[in-house]
């Protein structure tokens, strides 16, 4: 250790660091520290010139260790490890001190920032001299992929991978794939028929030889790691034998039990107790809703069985557990619409003619419950005036602070559809801001302005049926402060549509935990990097696409689905990938078999050998958290790159100026 030769590089990052930290002083001081043979400061260490500087010094000074003090290791650790490697130094003999995000950007106090920078640099020096050369782990990639969620994101990703020649398991918990997009009528801004562009893709999924579609199924358990996941899928009992069912629909027609369809038809229409969510459903097999089926509830009926021409009905069918092996996973689990009942003053659920956006989508859909007619809750009366309220549950501290991104555009689309179907009707859009970034989106907004929609800027305070003025009787009154004219206004209308925002699925956290992901404060899955790695996650081999990551529209969702597929295709084509060797290891000679560690590993990577009475970490399963290392009472478990010695030395270094031995040195510095 004493012979280690350390090079220390202090980055200015332009003025990002140098503006607050006295980088020259830190470099000068670093040069005086034991083991340090060269210390420099430089404008941009991450530039190619900066990296060349390191490479040159490694060769010239025979450096055996390198420290770069610059930004967060999450930014550039890879960059500098690469520089070390090019100069023939094992990349793990490098350590980074974060003096930008965690120092210069977090304070204005130059003196304190410089002192802190020294502590962080000293910590890195003390740590790096205990580093050991490590080799990345080689992991073979299984070429099959699991995609969870059969909305447009999952469908896109599945087709991309399947077309590339790789096998895909597409798991969807509903009886049909299609997701929210299948419910929509037109898509903005082009007004394509949603189903018309979606269903061909659904059929393609159904028929693709490389896609195994597991609808009405949910993932129970995930084990393993990038390249080699074992996933247990619960295939819920449909009570219809798929091999026999031809999808003729006779059972559905004969079923005597009508049920309000709260799912696909958003409560506006009906379905049967044995049903397919919609005519173009993929797969074509119906499913028995056992909560409503007369046979399951009162033990009478069996009409579907009687009329099924192929004998496909099976009341005894049980859930099936399938175990599948995949190399990668994409989560495309989508969103849930904000429930406007949570805003009681908007009257949804209390005032009949207040509708949610999804209800309206179904209503205007030609295949929907009203055959595309825009009518009030009575199913007959056409409204003469329609209010569309934006930002319901979005951009609101009481509910969700974020913008749901799609509501402005779909609200404009609604306005257009009302104009189209009911040319006489007045349409009011109540908005806070109109947000229409996107190809053709702003133009669509202008089109609506020309179509005569009234745009009123202001957050709606209340929707009420309490008439105060003549002309308000029998109407819904929208109370709003029109902020453009600075006045309170009461607009009486016949129909109100609430443009509800997008929320994370209610079970997102549960799902995240199952797959080892993080969720943000709103429950959306956290990407590896918000800008540079938006579809990867912190867990290698698990990707995310679509609205499970945050609100977005169809084109963005499709792009993400394809992006996630491309990431995986690239991993598969490498066949073997390299992974960080930060793993735990048990020295069997020191292990006493006390079994403290056995139950601590969330990945079941620790096995106990009864015969030898020692425990062992299965390297490929270990994710390197270090929980077992901290618990091992014998000190028999070490974590590569995070050994006790390295961390203890780092602690000594970080406290160099307050340690009794170091205080004197610090006073002189």
């Amino acid at each position: 250790m004493s012979e280690e030769r350390v090079g220390v590089y202090i980055c200015h990052c332009g003025t990002n660091i140098a503006g607050t930290v006295d980088v020259e002083d830190v470099a000068r001081w670093a040069g005086e520290q034991p083991h340090v043979v060269v210390a420099r400061d430089y404008k941009f260490m991450c530039s190619s010139l900066g990296q060349e500087l390191i490479e040159k010094d490694i060769k010239e000074f025979g450096l055996t260790r390198v420290v770069v003090a610059s930004c967060s290791p999450h930014m550039h650790e890879k960059t500098f490890r690469g520089a070390c490697e090019r100069a023939g130094l094992n990349p793990f003999l490098f350590e980074m001190a974060n003096i930008r995000e965690q120092d210069s950007w977090a304070t204005n106090d130059r003196k304190a920032a410089t002192q802190k920078a020294k502590a962080l640099v000293k910590a890195a020096i003390e740590r790096v001299i205990h580093h050991e050369p490590l080799d990345p782990l080689q992991v073979e990639i299984n070429s099959s992929t699991l995609i969870v969620g059969g909305g447009i994101a999952g469908i896109t990703a599945a087709l991309e991978l399947a077309n590339a020649g790789y096998h895909v398991y597409l798991v969807e918990r509903e009886p049909s794939i299609g997701g929210h997009m299948a419910q929509l009528d037109k898509t903005f801004p082009t007004l394509d028929c949603s189903a018309c562009i979606l269903t061909p893709k659904m059929v393609e999924v159904d028929q693709h030889p490389n896609i195994t579609l597991l609808s009405y199924s949910e993932v129970e358990k995930v084990e393993g790691h990038l390249g080699d996941f074992t996933v247990t899928v619960r295939k819920k009992a449909r009570h219809v034998i798929e091999d026999l069912c031809t999808g003729c629909g006779e059972c559905e027609r004969r079923c005597p039990k009508r049920v309000i369809d709260n799912s696909f038809e958003a409560g506006l229409g009906f379905r049967k107790a044995i049903y397919r969510p919609f005519p173009q459903a993929v797969p074509k097999y119906p499913v028995i809703d056992t909560d409503n089926c007369l046979w399951f509830q009162i033990g009478k009926c069996r009409v579907c069985e009687r009329f099924c021409p192929t004998g496909a009905i099976d009341y005894e069918q049980q859930d099936e557990l399938l175990e599948i092996k995949v190399g990668n996973i994409i989560l495309a689990t989508g969103y849930k619409l904000f429930d406007p009942r949570r805003i009681p003053q908007y009257g949804y659920g209390r005032l009949a003619n207040v509708f949610t956006s999804l209800e309206f989508e179904r209503m205007v859909n030609a295949a929907g419950p009203t055959g595309g007619r825009i009518v009030l809750r009575d199913g007959e009366t056409e409204p003469k005036s329609v209010a569309i309220i934006h930002c319901v549950g979005s951009r609101d501290r009481n509910y969700n602070e974020y913008c749901s991104k799609v509501c402005c555009m779909y609200s404009l689309k609604f306005a257009h559809l009302v104009h189209e179907r009911l040319p006489e009707a007045e349409v009011y859009n109540f908005y806070i801001d109109i947000r229409t970034p996107g190809k053709g989106y702003e133009e669509f907004y202008h089109r609506l302005l020309e179509e005569g929609t009234h745009f009123i800027r202001g957050r709606v305070a209340e929707v009420t049926d309490a008439a105060r003025q003549p002309g308000e009787e029998g109407k819904l009154i929208v109370q709003v402060e029109d902020t453009l004219i600075g006045k309170q206004r009461r607009i009486p209308v016949d129909m109100v549509i609430l443009s509800a925002g997008l929320e994370a699925q209610p079970d997102a956290r549960e799902v995240a935990q199952k797959f080892g992901l993080g969720c943000d404060a709103n429950g959306f899955f956290v990407e590896r990097h918000p800008k540079l790695d938006p579809v990867a996650t912190m867990t290698d081999g698990v990707f995310i696409a679509g609205t499970c990551q945050g609100p977005r529209d169809i084109p963005d969702t499709v792009a993400q689905g394809a992006a996630a597929a491309a990431r995986i295709a690239s991993l598969i084509s490498q066949r073997v990938v390299q992974m960080e060797p930060v793993r735990a290891h048990i020295d069997e000679d020191l292990c006493s078999g006390c079994r403290i560690c056995n139950d601590l590993c969330p990945y079941n990577a620790i096995v106990y050998h009864e015969d030898r009475q020692v425990s062992e970490v299965i390297t490929a399963l270990c994710q390197g958290c270090g929980a077992c290392v901290a618990a091992c009472p014998s000190g028999a478990i070490t974590e590569a790159h995070f050994t006790d010695e390295q961390i203890m030395s780092e602690i000594e270094g970080i406290l160099w100026d307050v340690r009794p031995q170091g205080a004197h040195e610090a006073a002189l510095a």
Binding site: S72, E101, W105, A106, G516, P602, C625, G626, A627, I647
Partner: protein, 160 residues
Amino acid sequence: MSDNAYEPVIVGFLCNWCSYRAADLAGTSRLHYAPNMRVVRVMCSARVDPQFVLKALREGADGVLIAGCHPGECHYVEGNIKTLRRYELLKHMLTQFGIEPERVQLVWASASEGNVLAKAVDRMTEQLRALGPLRWQETVVQQDKRPVSTDAVVEEVDRG
């Protein structure tokens, strides 16, 4: 840090996935907070061996902050629950060592909660300023270097 005034030094053990990123985010968002915390990055708060906490206190830290992902959001599923168990037992034990609870704290901060982390550091810095320095080796371990006297006991007896 002005020249002679006491400024506490906090060693922060931050998990790679949530709280270290929260600290990064605080910086990226230019949230200014007390420059008193110096961070040791670990993969998971569950890697924080109680030995590290004691080591930091022994080596001159005035306080130790352990930060991890919120329960339920741990990158390693439930590493932070193990952290919490150890932390709670450690706290009981440190009381016996005469170490005030404010000196060793556990905070949950997700990757998006730069502000939570920054506030925790500010609050802890204030608390430690109020408590004064710890300087374990000089003031506690080395205390027997003071001329040892039993005067106090004797005086008490005399008075009694």
